[in-house]
Each structure stands twice: as structure tokens, then as C-alpha cells.
């Protein structure tokens, strides 16, 4: 399945947030979005998720425009993993994950046994089944991020949108989440925002750099994550280094100085 974004533009009142954004993501793709804070990445995600309506441009799923889709239908195509959030109420982990089934159950009904089985299976896949009865408010930040991923997977969407999924995590949990994403990518198209160029080089199949509400470059990660672009994006001098890990495999990393 293919998600295609054409000339997407959004502004609040008269303040432009982003304009003429175009890209496409297919099943198996992992598109990383790099860009400084306040450049419109989160707003772009909100438009892709149907929370905000685009002012102009199109979002197509296999050539079908989603502009008049009900929220419920869109939720079956796109799942969202927000930055670490906390509810005011101590819902159990299994209930939070079950909420991913909402687009499939009627307004007046509740999740069935089958829905619960799907949720439990996802928890098992992510190796967090032991958390299922814990209150969501009492587990660690890394575990919470995994629970939010589990919820998005339980939603069984075609595409996943993740807003800086590693930003508040310790090193170990960051690696865990990134590995989990690269394991999942065969089943979904994934769009991720991040501040770590190394992750883009390591895990992305596509990359885009966003600044001032525009894509300043978009394409193969190896080609666009380079000294010049990082300088333009963050105003930081970097050096690109290839590091061998194991036999036959090298990973490119970028070192700021």
C-alpha cells in the first residue's frame, strides 16, 4: 500500500506552518524526518492523522483522497505513537492497548474477546506481556513507549506515525524501541521524527529534512544525511565516519565537532 502526500500546506490564521510538502511512503518503508524544533514536524503529523485539515494539497492512500474520510476509517489506515504521555487515570496496560481496537468496534459497544486476544498477542510480540495488569501510570518511560507502540499495532493500521519515539528514553530503551521498529517495518510504512542523524543512517529507507516549514532535502538517507545538509539544518559542523560492525557490515555515523 502507498501513502502519497502532494503539495501539503498548512497555516494557522495567517501564520504559515509548512508549505508544499510532498513525499510518499510504501509498505516496508521507514521515512525519517529530521529538523530543528518548531519547524512544523508535529503539525505535519497532525494533518496526516486527520487532527487538522490541510489548507491545500492532498493525502492519498493508493490514490484515494482521504480528505472526507471519517476519523474512524482513517484510524484503520494510520496509527499514531505519540511522545510519552500520561493519563490522569491509572488505566491498566491491557486496557490502554485495547483502546487500539476502537476503530473496529461500534460506538455503543465494547471490545470483544477477539479484540482482547489481538491486544494480548501484541503485548507478547513486544515482550511486555508481564506488564499487562500494571497501571499505565506506574511503569517506566521506556515501558510506556512500548505500550503506546503496542496500542498502535493493535490498531492494525497500514502506516505508523511516531513522534520522536526515543526522545525521553535512556540509551537502552532507545535501542530497544529502534530495534522494534526495524523488526516491524516489513508490515507497515513508518514515518518517524527524530533528532538523531545516526538513527536515520542506520534504520531509514528514506529521509527528509525539514526547516522553516519546507523539505530542504528528501531522498535516500545515505545521500542526504551529509555534512552540508546537517550544517544547513542545525548549523553544526560534523564529520561523517564509516565504522565496521561485524564482518561485511559498516555503519555510517556522524560526529559533531
Amino acid at each position: 500500500m502507498k501513502m502519497e502526500v502532494r503539495d501539503l500546506t498548512f497555516y494557522y490564521n495567517k501564520k504559515l506552518v509548512f508549505q508544499n510538502i510532498s513525499f510518499s511512503v510504501e509498505t516496508g518503508d521507514v521515512l525519517f524526518l529530521l529538523g530543528p524544533n518548531g519547524t512544523g514536524k508535529t503539525t505535519l503529523f497532525k494533518v496526516l492523522l486527520g487532527i487538522l485539515r490541510p489548507r491545500s494539497g492532498k493525502i492519498l492512500f493508493d490514490n484515494e483522497d482521504m480528505v472526507n474520510w471519517p476519523q474512524r476509517k482513517l484510524a484503520r489506515y494510520v496509527g499514531y505513537v505519540p511522545q510519552n504521555i500520561v493519563s490522569a487515570f491509572p488505566f491498566s496496560v491491557i486496557d490502554v492497548v485495547l483502546m487500539g481496537r476502537t476503530p473496529y468496534i461500534g460506538s455503543f459497544s465494547v471490545p470483544s474477546k477477539k479484540d482482547k486476544d489481538i491486544a494480548l498477542k501484541t503485548l507478547e510480540e513486544l515482550d511486555i506481556i508481564h506488564l499487562k495488569d500494571e497501571p499505565y501510570t506506574k511503569i517506566s518511560g521506556g515501558e510506556r513507549q512500548l505500550v503506546l507502540i503496542a496500542r498502535a499495532l493493535t490498531q492494525q493500521p497500514k502506516f505508523l506515525i511516531m513522534d520522536e519515539p526515543t526522545s525521553s528514553l535512556d540509551f537502552g530503551n532507545q535501542v530497544k524501541v529502534m530495534n522494534c521498529i526495524s523488526k516491524l517495518k516489513s508490515k507497515f510504512g513508518v514515518i518517524i521524527s527524530t533528532h538523531m542523524p545516526d538513527y536515520v543512517l542506520r534504520y531509514a529507507t528514506k529521509a527528509a529534512m525539514m526547516k522553516g516549514g519546507r523539505f530542504i532535502s528528501y531522498g535516500m538517507p545515505d545521500l542526504i544525511v551529509n555534512k552540508e545538509n546537517l550544517k544547513e539544518l542545525y548549523n553544526v559542523e560534523t564529520k561523517m565516519v564509516s565504522v565496521p560492525i561485524g564482518c561485511m557490515q559498516t555503519v555510517k555515523v556522524c560526529i559533531p565537532y
Partner: protein, 327 residues
């Protein structure tokens, strides 16, 4: 089990009061009405059971249950455990409506209709203001609008009290504002049943939506919920229940705040169980409070006073608890 407790209490409390009636007698009196037993009881006894105690017990259960269930729903959609049904101005609006009716005529029916209409009006005013102010945190603006409408209606209540006839009307208003079930009759119960049961049924049908709405608005949308529409429906029915309850009983504060939180601590935040449990525990709570109010002292104590005296310390405890959870 909660239902059983409530029924049992209801029957036991039928016997409590100045006119002595045993449990067996009260059951027989009720059975006599439903089944063709052809038993004879003193007319005074039947009157006490059917026209005084039974309506009052049913009203206490329905009102306590409605205020609690509405409170739990409000807390969910505003994602804040410290919110109560009063927040959108329902109580203040109803108070104004009732005070106005007391000054104008004083008939029971007028008081109920007027307090109900102004309760709804207050909430719609609050919602309208928040829709017109189109920026920033929508929920914060809605709460502020509720506080504003409450302030306006509370001022209007003060104005009415100021100009009301101090011999008859002013005490009547003051008494109503304190909350009481002393004058509840069969007619009131009939008026109460329809909005109460409609409201609780609608909220119960939307119980899963309430769960999802307990997270942020954006998240609920990405999970496929039309948040604006569902939230409006929930606000409408919660307000309907609150206004219906307040129009019969007067202002009985704190139940909508205390009971849902207590229930949440006991059985967890899942609305599939929280909503019915809040209703039942709220009903039980008000039934106990009302029975204490009518029997413990020679003069009836207004319910609002008792629920506030219990509610305020609980709120402080809850605040401290929430503070600990957040840190």
C-alpha cells in the same frame, strides 16, 4: 453485589423514621400493591410507606446515582479527576432557575421546570463561549467559561435573595439552596425517572468512548473517535442528569466529585465498571446520608451541609494524593 446492598438498604431504611413500621410490614405493604394479596393495613401506614418514605428513598438513590455517574463522565472527558458536575455551571444555573421560580410563584412544578431549563442554559452558555473563543487550550477555556457562567448565575441568585420577601420567599430559597429531600413525593420521582434513566443509559452505552476520551483529544481522534460530537453528547446527558437531580433536591454538592474518585480507587478507572459502580455507590451514599439527615436529630439537617462537611476534607485528601502521584 452493590445492587443487592443497595436494595437491602432501601428496604431496611423504609422502616427507619418517626412512625414505627417493621421490615416485614413494609415488605408486605409493597407486595400487597403489586400482588393481589388483599391484606389490610392501617391507611396511615400505607401513606407513610408509599407517599413519604418510598418516594424519598427512590429519589435519594436516583439523585445520588445521577450526580455520581455524571461526575465520573465529566472527569473522564476533561481528563481531570478534580472536576465535578458543577464545573460547567449546571448547578449555578439550576439554583438561579429555582430561586426565580420561588420568587415568582413558588409552585413545585414551576421550580423544577425553571431550575432544569436554566441548568441546561448555563451549560450551553458555557459551551457557546468556549466555541466563540477559538484559540488555545479548548478544555481550559471551557472550564473558565463554566466558572464565568457560574459566577453570573450565582450573582443573580444573590440579587434575587436581596430583593426577595424576607418572611416567606427568602427562607424558601435559602432552604432550597441547602439541598433537601424532605418534600419529595411520588410526582417528583416520576419527573426524575425519565431524565435519570435516559442519561445513565446513554452514558453507559458510550462507556468505551469515555475510556478513550480519558486520554488527550488528539489521541482519541487518532483512535477513530469523532471527539467533538461524542464529547457534546456526553456533556448534554451528564448535564441533563445533573439538572434533573438538582431541580428536585436543591443543591447537594460534592457527591459528583467524591463518589467517582472513591469508586475509582476501589475498582479502577475503566468506565465499563466505573460507571455502573459510581451510580450504585452514589445512590447508596445519598440514601445513607438522607436517612441520617431525617432521623438523627429532631430537626432535619439540610443534605448540602452534610455532604459538604464530608466532601471538603475528602477533597483535601484527594489533592494530597494526586500531588503525590504526580511527583
Amino acid at each position: 453485589m452493590l445492587t443487592l446492598n443497595l436494595l437491602l438498604l432501601g428496604v431496611v431504611f423504609l422502616t427507619v423514621g418517626k412512625y414505627p413500621i417493621s421490615i416485614k410490614e413494609s415488605i408486605m405493604i409493597i407486595a400487597n400493591r403489586i400482588l393481589p394479596l388483599n391484606l389490610n393495613f392501617p391507611p396511615a401506614m400505607e401513606t407513610v410507606v408509599f407517599n413519604v418514605r418510598l418516594p424519598r428513598i427512590i429519589a435519594a438513590i436516583l439523585i445520588g446515582g445521577c450526580l455520581s455517574a455524571a461526575g465520573s463522565a465529566y472527569q473522564g472527558i476533561f481528563n481531570n479527576p478534580l472536576i465535578s458536575p458543577d464545573i460547567l455551571g449546571a448547578t449555578a444555573g439550576s439554583s438561579f432557575g429555582a430561586s426565580l421560580a420561588i420568587v415568582m410563584s413558588g409552585s413545585i412544578a414551576a421550580i423544577q421546570v425553571s431550575s432544569f431549563l436554566f441548568g441546561l442554559l448555563a451549560v450551553f452558555a458555557a459551551c457557546l463561549i468556549s466555541v466563540k473563543v477559538k484559540h488555545g487550550n479548548q478544555i481550559l477555556i471551557l472550564i473558565l467559561s463554566g466558572i464565568l457562567t457560574s459566577t453570573v448565575f450565582n450573582s443573580l441568585v444573590s440579587l434575587i435573595k436581596f430583593i426577595a420577601d424576607p418572611e416567606v420567599r427568602l427562607p424558601a430559597i435559602t432552604f432550597w439552596l441547602l439541598g433537601s429531600l424532605a418534600s419529595v413525593g411520588l410526582e417528583d420521582v416520576k419527573l426524575l425517572t425519565v431524565p435519570c434513566l435516559t442519561g445513565i443509559t446513554m452514558l453507559f452505552l458510550l462507556r468505551w468512548n469515555l475510556n478513550v476520551l480519558s486520554f488527550s483529544d488528539d489521541e482519541a481522534k487518532t483512535l477513530g473517535i469523532d471527539t467533538n460530537r461524542v464529547r457534546l453528547i456526553i456533556i448534554f446527558f451528564s448535564t441533563l442528569m445533573t439538572s434533573a437531580a438538582v431541580s428536585i433536591s436543591g443543591v447537594i454538592g460534592w457527591i459528583g466529585l467524591v463518589i467517582p474518585n472513591l469508586t475509582r480507587i476501589m475498582i479502577g478507572p475503566d468506565y465499563r465498571t466505573l460507571l455502573p459502580a459510581s451510580f450504585l455507590i452514589g445512590g447508596t451514599y445519598l440514601l445513607i446520608i438522607d436517612t441520617i439527615a431525617r432521623t438523627l436529630f429532631p430537626v432535619e439537617i439540610p443534605l448540602g451541609i452534610i455532604t459538604s462537611l464530608i466532601g471538603a476534607p475528602f477533597y483535601i485528601w484527594l489533592l494530597a494524593r494526586e500531588g503525590r502521584n504526580m511527583s
